[in-house]
């Protein structure tokens, strides 16, 4: 009753069977010469073709890569809404309110910076219902069919609560707001502790605050390559924050390396909102929302007067906004529309901002002039308030063409290795 199997036969069949099934699709797809097949990433064929790069001077109307969901789609009941967002970027009480109103659960997957976030989305490791990209990724996400068009009838607050310019004509990166709604608006400046730095000195030194040897060991800089290199460019006198000039990028890189190597600086995303209030840093690169939100991280007994923020008032500074989009892989697109509408509502959007987030939403009801009087923004942080006309003069970062992006990423790689 002995069966004679040659070991080789057995191993051969076992190995062959194991390898055949999973890799068949991949190998068939890869049978053509590499580089000829342009559909990677999201896995779907590109239906729209290349989209020109959007800038404030050349706004882009994104082509529709499909139909938005029908208005009469029922709201998914008892679902788990997958939210994919920055860490510490939404008020948990607002999320709980949404969960209670719709009787659903929210699962919040976090990323620490945009590059990390996009990487996982494009690789398909996360399949969220809601995603919060920066504006320089929108065209690419549409081109790769990673996000779906929105049904404005399901997001009434977009028309009634948000600044009209975000729908008519719409932002430069998404004319007509076909795919995006704005989440927050912010400027990028320098935060400092007012108990260690004089306000007058801060204004005098401007960006050089971050390069001041007096604060060595107490400097933080953002772990986000566009903002980091962008600010160094401005400090060195280059006002094009989308430049592809290798010399300018190199000089910016050297400046940041100076912070890292000579001034004991730290590159991290939580320098301003979490560590500056604790006293670990004295000066840090800061988004306006981070320093306003830092008031919630102050130790008991420390007044919010210690928080300071500098942003240029006579020259253009960095400004931008974040968006919310619905990926095509969303399992609960109807509920996702409700989520967008919820965060754009006056009641919840304002609570999100005023009670915790610190990042201002572009609501017509929020008069920038009143924010300090109403106790939402600490009095010392008047430069952290964002107004609509700042967008006309401000420096906005737009998508970089691949070759330019490579220059920036290579410079960033060198910074990350300590140069």
């Amino acid at each position: 009753m002995e069966r004679r199997w040659s070991r080789r036969q057995f191993l051969g069949r076992a190995a062959g069977g194991a390898l055949a099934v999973p890799s068949l699709a991949a190998i068939l797809a890869a049978c053509q010469k590499p580089g000829t097949d342009t559909s990677g990433g999201g896995g779907a064929e590109a239906t729209t073709g290349p989209i020109p790069i959007a800038t404030p001077e050349n706004p882009v109307e994104l082509p529709l890569n499909g139909e938005p969901i029908a208005t009469d789609t029922p709201i998914e009941a008892g679902a788990t809404l997958q939210v994919y967002n920055w860490i510490d970027y939404m008020y948990k009480k607002t999320l709980k309110a949404f969960e209670e109103e719709y009787d659903v659960t929210i699962e919040w997957t976090t990323f620490n910076n945009m590059e990390e976030g996009v990487q996982k989305l494009v690789a398909g490791q996360v399949q969220p219902d809601v995603f919060f990209p920066t504006t320089d990724y929108i065209s690419r996400l549409v081109e790769r069919d990673l996000i779906q068009p929105l049904n404005h009838e399901l997001i009434p607050n977009l028309g009634s609560v948000v600044w009209p310019s975000f729908t008519d004509p719409g932002p430069f990166y998404d004319l007509g707001a076909r795919y995006t709604v704005p989440y927050t608006i912010y400027t990028t400046g320098v935060a400092y502790r007012r108990d260690r730095v004089d306000d007058a000195d801060a204004v005098a030194q401007a960006y050089d605050l971050l390069w001041n040897p007096e604060y060595a060991g107490e400097i933080a800089y953002y772990d986000s390559y566009r903002d980091a290199i962008g600010m160094a460019l401005i400090r060195n006198g280059v006002t094009d924050t989308n430049t592809n000039d290798p010399a300018a990028i190199d000089a910016a890189k050297e400046s940041i390396l100076e912070i890292v190597n000579d001034l004991d600086g730290q590159i991290r995303i939580n320098g301003t909102y979490a560590k500056l209030p604790e006293g670990e840093f004295t000066v840090s690169q800061s988004w306006s929302g981070d320093i306003v939100g830092a008031q919630w991280y102050l130790p008991k007994g420390t007044s919010w007067d210690v928080l300071g923020y500098w942003y240029p008032d006579d020259e253009p500074g960095m400004i931008g906004n974040d968006t919310i989009v619905i990926p095509t892989t969303a399992q609960n697109p109807r509920l996702a529309h409700e989520f967008l509408n919820f965060f754009l509502s006056e009641e919840h959007g304002t609570e999100n901002f005023a009670s915790w987030n610190g990042y201002q939403p572009p609501f017509t009801s929020l008069e920038p002039a009143n924010l300090i009087d109403e106790g939402i923004v600490p009095p010392a942080l008047d430069r952290a308030v964002v107004t609509e006309n700042m967008f006309t003069t401000g420096l906005i970062q737009s998508q970089l063409p691949p070759e330019d992006d490579k220059l920036w990423l290579d410079a960033w790689a060198e910074i990350q290795t300590g140069g």
Binding site: R7, L11, P22, S23, A25, A26, G43, Q82, Y84, I87, D88, K92, K93, K96, T105, E107, W108, T109, T110, N112, K120, A123, G124, Q125, V126, Q127, P128, R268, I269, N270, Y273, A274, E278, Y297, P299, K300
Partner: protein, 306 residues
């Protein structure tokens, strides 16, 4: 031990063999080594003890004590361990991953060890080499390789998240089970099974009724080792994680440490610590029960195999 005997012997030995520093007995216990050992044990244990204590801090600092409070355990409405579902989900995921990994890796590894001990020839050595390679390769290399495997080659299979993490963990941990069980097999000869088969048992029964009970201490040891190693695994599970529900506590600690950690993270880590210690204690008691009357292994030799 025979320390007292040695001491008595040493009294009679002339101390002129070593340069005298005025010490009476050169063979008495070295206080220098004792100091180093006590110092090391304190250095090893204190940071964790302090971290556990700080989970009861009343403020959000993990470094400045601001008073005792259960704020981060139960009271804070959004961020305490009790009220923040994300921390509980992370702990649950750690447990889930480690239990499933143990369930797959230990039988796979035990079978591998039994087979490799009895099977001779070139293919056997090849398999053994492959297993030893997986034992020795740094986790980072395996982590990146598995990440690229699951996001490129096996992308269409939708295995991201927990399934990929289990597959990766078993690959990493199987060799631990093999090594531990194999070591035990080396110390058991084939006589027991042969005796069983002389008495009429089939090969299957002799393995089930004779070999496996003999291997029980080693199997239990590998369960403990694989469990403890998987529950705290970081590199592989981080690269293979998908959305938040597949992020175990180790990844949560890492993300929080780079964001805004609160003592609630300390609390979650404390719970995991207690769970793991509890599991190990249970495992040890079971091990003692199983190996009563068997020769060879005691705590110290198992410890040296770890």
């Amino acid at each position: 031990m025979s320390d007292t005997v040695l001491d008595r012997v040493a009294e009679g030995v002339s101390s002129k063999a070593t340069p005298s520093r005025g010490l009476r007995n050169p063979w008495r216990k070295p206080w220098g080594l004792r100091l180093v050992t006590i110092g090391y044990l304190a250095w090893s244990v204190l940071p964790v003890v302090i971290a556990v204590i700080f989970s009861f801090n009343s403020g959000r600092s993990r470094s400045t004590w601001q008073g005792f409070s259960l704020r981060w355990w139960t009271q804070d409405p959004f961020n305490s361990l009790f009220n923040d579902p994300s921390l509980r989900a992370a702990m649950f995921q750690s447990l889930k991953l480690s239990l499933l990994t143990v369930l797959i890796a230990v039988p796979l590894g035990t079978a591998f060890a039994i087979g490799i001990d009895r099977w001779h020839g070139r293919p056997a050595r090849g398999s053994n080499f492959l297993m030893l390679l997986s034992f020795v390769v740094p986790e980072m290399i395996l982590g990146v390789s598995l990440f690229l495997l699951f996001t490129q080659l096996l992308q269409g299979l939708g295995l991201s998240g927990t399934p990929a993490q289990i597959l990766g963990l078993v690959t990493f941990q199987m060799s631990y089970a093999v090594v531990i069980v194999r070591a035990r097999m080396l110390s058991i000869g084939p006589e027991y099974e042969e005796a069983a088969m002389d008495l009429g048992a089939t090969p299957g029964r002799s393995i089930r009724r004779v070999l496996l009970p003999l291997l029980a201490p080693a199997i239990l040891a590998s369960v403990a080792v694989v469990f403890a190693d998987s529950i705290d695994n970081f590199v592989i599970v981080r690269y293979l994680s998908g959305s938040a529900d597949s992020e175990p506590l180790s990844v949560k600690i890492y993300s929080a440490a780079r964001g805004s950690p609160t003592p609630a993270v300390n609390a979650a880590a404390t719970v995991m610590l207690l769970a793991t210690v509890g599991a190990v204690v249970v495992g040890y008691l079971l091990y003692r029960a199983f190996s009563k009357g068997q020769r060879g292994d005691d705590v110290t030799s198992i410890a040296s195999q770890v």
